[in-house]
C-alpha cells in the first residue's frame, strides 16, 4: 500500500550551525543546544511514513521538537534539510520544493491544521460560519448559498449548534472553539490533517468529546492524521502507530500498543511509568 506522506531526514537548526552540532546534541547528549556554537537543533533526521486513513502519534515532552515537525509540514517554518513527499491521489508533491503559490494552494485545499490554541487557527473577530467560509473562499468557492450550506453541514458534524453559526467564536467555550477549528480544517475535504496538541488545556469531559469526534471523522471520512501530543491517553486512544521524540530525535517508533506495553528506550520507559 502506498503511503500518503513520506518524510525523511527532516532537520531544522536555529542558529548558525557548526559541524559538531549534531554529535553534541540529541538524547544521548541530553541537550538540543549545541555547546560549541549555541545553535538549537530543534529537529534532526526525522523520518515518518503515514498511510491513508491512519492516525500517527508523535509523542514527546516540551521542547522535544514535535511541534516543529508539524510546523515544517505545515510550511510555517522552512526545514534546514530533509525531504517530504505528499501522495495526493494522482499527484505527488515534493513538499519542500514548492513555490509560495503552490504551498498556499496545498495548505488551503489539501491539508488541514488544528492548533492547540484556537486563536492561531481561527479569526475570533468574524463569525464561526465566516471562519469556515474564509477557507472555502480561499479555494474559490464563490457561491454564498453553497458556502452557507457547507458551513452549516460541517458545524453540525462537529457538534456545534446551528443557531450559533453566526456568532463570534470569541463567545464560545474552549471546547466549542476547538470544534469550530476542526470544522474549518475539514471544510475542503483534505486527505491530510495535522493536529497539534488539540486537547491540551481542555477539561477531561470536553477532551473526551473532541477525541471521539476525531475518531468518528477518521472512521467516516478516512482522513490521515498526524497527532502531536504529550498526553499518553490521547496517544493510546487515537494513534495506531506512534513515534517518541526527545531532544529533536526520534528515539522509538512502532505500534502504539507495543510502545505503551513494552517500551524499549529508557526515556519511553520513564514516560510510560510516569503516566501510570
Amino acid at each position: 500500500m502506498r503511503p500518503i506522506l513520506e518524510v525523511s531526514g527532516l532537520s531544522r537548526i536555529y542558529g548558525p550551525g557548526c559541524p559538531r552540532c549534531i554529535e553534541a546534541t540529541g538524547p544521548d547528549a541530553e541537550r538540543n543546544v549545541c555547546p560549541h556554537c549555541g545553535s538549537i537543533v530543534a529537529v534532526h533526521d526525522v523520518g515518518l511514513r503515514l498511510m491513508p486513513g491512519e492516525i500517527l502519534g508523535i509523542m514527546g515532552e516540551s521542547g522535544s521538537g514535535k511541534s516543529t515537525v508539524v510546523k515544517l509540514l505545515n510550511f510555517d517554518e522552512t526545514p534546514t534539510t530533509g525531504r517530504a513527499a505528499f501522495f495526493d491521489g494522482e499527484r505527488t508533491w515534493d513538499l519542500f520544493g514548492l513555490n509560495a503559490a503552490e504551498k498556499r494552494w496545498l495548505r488551503d485545499n489539501r491539508m488541514g491544521t488544528v492548533y492547540q490554541n484556537p486563536h492561531l487557527g481561527l479569526n475570533l473577530d468574524i463569525s464561526a460560519g465566516g471562519n469556515i467560509a474564509e477557507r472555502l473562499l480561499m479555494s474559490d468557492v464563490l457561491s454564498y448559498g453553497e458556502i452557507r450550506e457547507r458551513a452549516r453541514d460541517l458545524l453540525a458534524r462537529t457538534q456545534v449548534p446551528a443557531i450559533r453559526m453566526d456568532e463570534h467564536p470569541r463567545r464560545f467555550s474552549g471546547g466549542m472553539q476547538q470544534r469550530v477549528q476542526i470544522a474549518r480544517a475539514l471544510v475542503t475535504n483534505p486527505p491530510l490533517l495535522l493536529l497539534d496538541e488539540v486537547t491540551t488545556g481542555l477539561d477531561l469531559s470536553v477532551q473526551a468529546r473532541i477525541l471521539d469526534l476525531i475518531l468518528d471523522l477518521q472512521e467516516r471520512l478516512g482522513i490521515a492524521m498526524i497527532a502531536v501530543t504529550h498526553d499518553l491517553g490521547v496517544i493510546r486512544l487515537l494513534a495506531t502507530r506512534t513515534v517518541v521524540m526527545r531532544y529533536g530525535r526520534i528515539v522509538e517508533g512502532g505500534l502504539t500498543d507495543q510502545i505503551l506495553e513494552d517500551p524499549q528506550h529508557a526515556y519511553t520507559q520513564e514516560l510510560v511509568a510516569a503516566a501510570l
Binding site: R104, I126, L142
Partner: protein
C-alpha cells in the same frame, strides 16, 4: 500712494513640479498602466495644499498637463466647490496655456474626487482620481508587508469573508463607496470613494483612469478596455444604488428631470427633501437640451 504692482505668477516652471519629479511620476504612471491595478510606490512631493486634500491626484495631473490640454476639476460632481475651483485656478496659474473648463466633453484631463462623470468618457480623455486609501486590504490586514504578499498571490479570501459577514449580518453587502474591484482578473483595487453607481464605469472603458494617493504615496491605473469586476458572490449579484421612492418609482432630478443619474439628496430649509443630479455639468447640459427642444419643435 503707490499703485499696487500687478501680481505675477510665482517663478515656477511649467507644471509647478520640477522636471525630475515629473519624470518620476510619469515613470510610475507608465508602470501602473502596464500592470493594471498594481499599486506603484512613488515619492509623493510636498504640494501647496495639505496631504489629504488631493495631492496625489494633483501631482498626476501636473505631470500629465501640456500647453494644449483642457482641464476640468470636480469634487463630488461639482465644479464649483472650494476644493475644485481652487485646484482649477492653480492649474491655470502654474500651467500657462492650459484651458480651464467645466464641460466634461471639452476636457482632456479631468481630476476628480468621489465621482466619475455621467457622460461616458472618450478615448482621448483621462480621469485622475484623488485617493485617500489606496489599499483595499487595509481593513483586513494591518501589516503592509503581508498585504503586499496577499496582492502578489491574488489572495483576497479575507475581503470576501468580509462580504460574507455583511451578508450574514445585514442580508446585503453594505459597502456604499470604495467598493473593492478586481482589475484584469488579478489585483483588487480600492477605486477611491466613488459610489457603487460609478464602479461599472471602470469596466471596459474607453478612457484611461489614473489613481493617485498622495499621503500613502501610491499610484495605480485602470487602462482602457480592461475588465473591472466588483467582488461579489456568484449568487448575490453586485447592485448599484437604485434611487426608487416609496412607491417603487425611480426618482428624477428636480432640476433637469434626468432619471438615469446618481442623485444627491438635498434638504431645504423647510426640511423638504429634493433630489438633484450629483454631476452638475451633466445636469446643466441636460437642462439646456430640454430647454432648446421645445423651441426647435415650434420652429419646425
Amino acid at each position: 500712494m503707490r499703485a499696487r504692482r500687478k501680481r505675477r505668477p510665482a517663478s515656477y516652471g511649467f507644471g509647478f513640479l520640477d522636471e525630475n519629479a515629473k519624470k518620476e511620476l510619469r515613470r510610475a504612471l507608465m508602470k501602473a498602466v502596464a500592470i493594471p491595478g498594481y499599486q506603484v510606490p512613488y515619492a509623493s512631493r510636498e504640494m501647496p495644499i495639505a496631504r489629504g486634500f488631493g495631492t496625489g491626484g494633483l501631482q498626476i495631473t501636473l505631470a500629465l498637463l501640456g500647453e494644449d490640454d483642457t482641464v476640468k476639476v470636480i469634487d463630488q460632481g461639482s465644479d464649483e466647490s472650494v476644493n475644485a475651483a481652487n485646484l482649477r485656478k492653480f492649474f491655470a496659474l502654474v500651467c500657462l496655456g492650459v484651458t480651464e473648463t467645466t464641460r466634461t466633453t471639452d476636457a482632456t484631463v479631468i481630476q476628480t474626487r468621489h465621482r466619475i462623470p455621467e457622460r461616458r468618457l472618450r478615448a482621448d480623455q483621462i480621469l485622475v482620481f484623488q485617493v485617500p486609501y489606496p489599499d483595499p486590504l487595509v481593513v483586513v490586514e494591518a501589516n503592509a508587508g503581508k498585504r503586499r504578499e496577499m496582492h502578489g498571490a491574488a489572495n483576497y479570501a479575507r475581503l470576501w469573508t468580509k462580504l460574507y459577514e455583511d451578508m450574514v449580518t445585514f442580508d446585503e453587502i453594505t459597502i456604499s463607496h470604495r467598493y473593492p474591484t478586481r482589475i484584469a482578473g488579478h489585483y483588487v483595487i480600492d477605486p477611491s470613494p466613488i459610489p457603487r453607481w460609478d464602479v461599472p464605469k471602470l469596466h471596459m472603458a474607453d478612457c484611461l483612469y489614473l489613481f493617485g494617493a498622495g499621503r500613502e504615496k501610491r499610484i495605480y491605473a485602470v487602462p482602457p478596455h480592461t475588465t473591472a469586476q466588483p467582488l461579489s458572490f456568484s449568487d448575490v449579484p453586485f447592485r448599484v444604488e437604485d434611487f426608487t421612492d416609496e412607491h417603487g418609482k425611480r426618482r428624477a432630478c428636480a432640476r433637469c428631470g434626468a432619471t438615469g443619474t446618481f442623485l444627491d439628496e438635498l434638504l431645504a430649509a423647510d426640511s423638504v427633501k429634493s433630489y438633484h443630479c450629483s454631476d452638475i455639468d451633466f445636469c446643466t447640459e441636460t437642462l439646456k437640451a430640454t430647454q432648446c427642444a421645445p423651441s426647435s419643435k415650434s420652429a419646425a
